[in-house]
Amino acid sequence: MTEPRTVDLEVLRYRPERDSEPVWQRYTVPYNHDMSVLQALQHVKDELDGTLSYRWSCRMAICGSCGMMIGGKPKLACETFVRDLLPGPIRIEALAHFPIERDLVVNAEGFIRKLERIKPYLIPKEPRTLAQGEYLQTPLELERIEQFSSCINCMLCYAACPQFGLNPEFTGPAAIALLHRYNDDSRDGGRAQRMEVLNAEEGVWSCTAVAYCSEVCPKHVDPANAVNQNKVNSAKDYFLRFLSPKGATR
């Protein structure tokens, strides 16, 4: 066995009670071939500096908690490996475009509010009783929405979206992708209620098709597609109201 090799981490720290602005702090940690960036941070917290704050839970890219900027890119720390970032130093920073609460922990309050606003649940076209059984769907109808339902709310897409950085009110990629997942669901009847969110300036029209959101998405949701498909839907909704007194979606 060779001596354990080490790598330097540069972590952007922010402790509101003592820092007026974030500061970089360097830690040297031993690493091995199968070590993730999350494990490197855990080494720091357990062995070097217990004051370092970050979010994590599942360690297997499904909970969406450990999103952070690693080497300037939005990534999940649990599925990013130290071996791919050698020789270092590895720069780690809280998710871009979000306010930093402490160290690598961002304030996700705005995102949660957006999720609530889009009504991310089925609003059935025709309510059915339990006795009437489940709402059926064909495989093709499922395929139209399946990828958009894979979102794990990790917010990497927001850290990849400069329009969200410039205007935090922008509903943004993940929330619009989830909105689309319900609007395009054959069993759903809530489209008219959700179109108001899409049609707003902070809805689809704040997107300029940078499309980096789809690039960084760890679940291949392709939020840029959901947002841009809905520019067409929003335009139709606007123009069709002149043909139908009740509007296009009602």
Binding site: P99, E101, D222, Q229, V232
Partner: protein, 134 residues
């Protein structure tokens, strides 16, 4: 760059587009859109000169042959190729999902169709130009 205990520390967005190569490429796409605009203006001037009579139109044709104009057109052509490429790249993201025979049409097929249409239109325009000259 603001610090609000209730919200947290907001980092500045200054020169955000230089932070990632992806953003630089995006800005290049947006910048090359200006080439499309410039070329549209050049053509629009041609139409105006045409309406002013033969001498005016010949003057415009003469101006197009100047070295400066040729250089401008090389720059415009390159910019428009870059612009077209960048748009075909994101075209699959701007379209509804297309299913053919129960299967999802691949992004690459959509991009290739875009390029094929470009090649066909270019050939047709060249053929028309040559036919008009003859």
């Amino acid at each position: 760059m603001s610090r609000d205990p209730a919200i947290g520390y907001r980092r500045p967005m200054r020169s955000w587009w230089r932070r990632d190569r992806f953003f630089v490429r995006y800005m290049l796409r947006e910048l090359t859109a200006l080439a499309v605009l410039v070329y549209a203006i050049v053509l629009a001037v041609g139409v105006v000169r045409l309406s002013q009579g033969e001498a005016a139109f010949d003057g415009w044709l003469q101006a197009l042959r100047s070295p400066l104009s040729l250089l401008l057109h090389v720059v415009l052509l390159l910019s428009m190729v870059v612009h077209a490429h960048s748009w075909f790249e994101i075209m699959p993201k701007t379209m509804p999902l297309i299913f053919v025979g129960g299967r999802r049409l691949a992004a690459r097929t959509i991009q290739r169709t875009g390029w094929a249409a470009t090649v066909v239109v270019t050939v047709v325009v060249f053929a028309l130009a040559l036919w008009a000259r003859a």
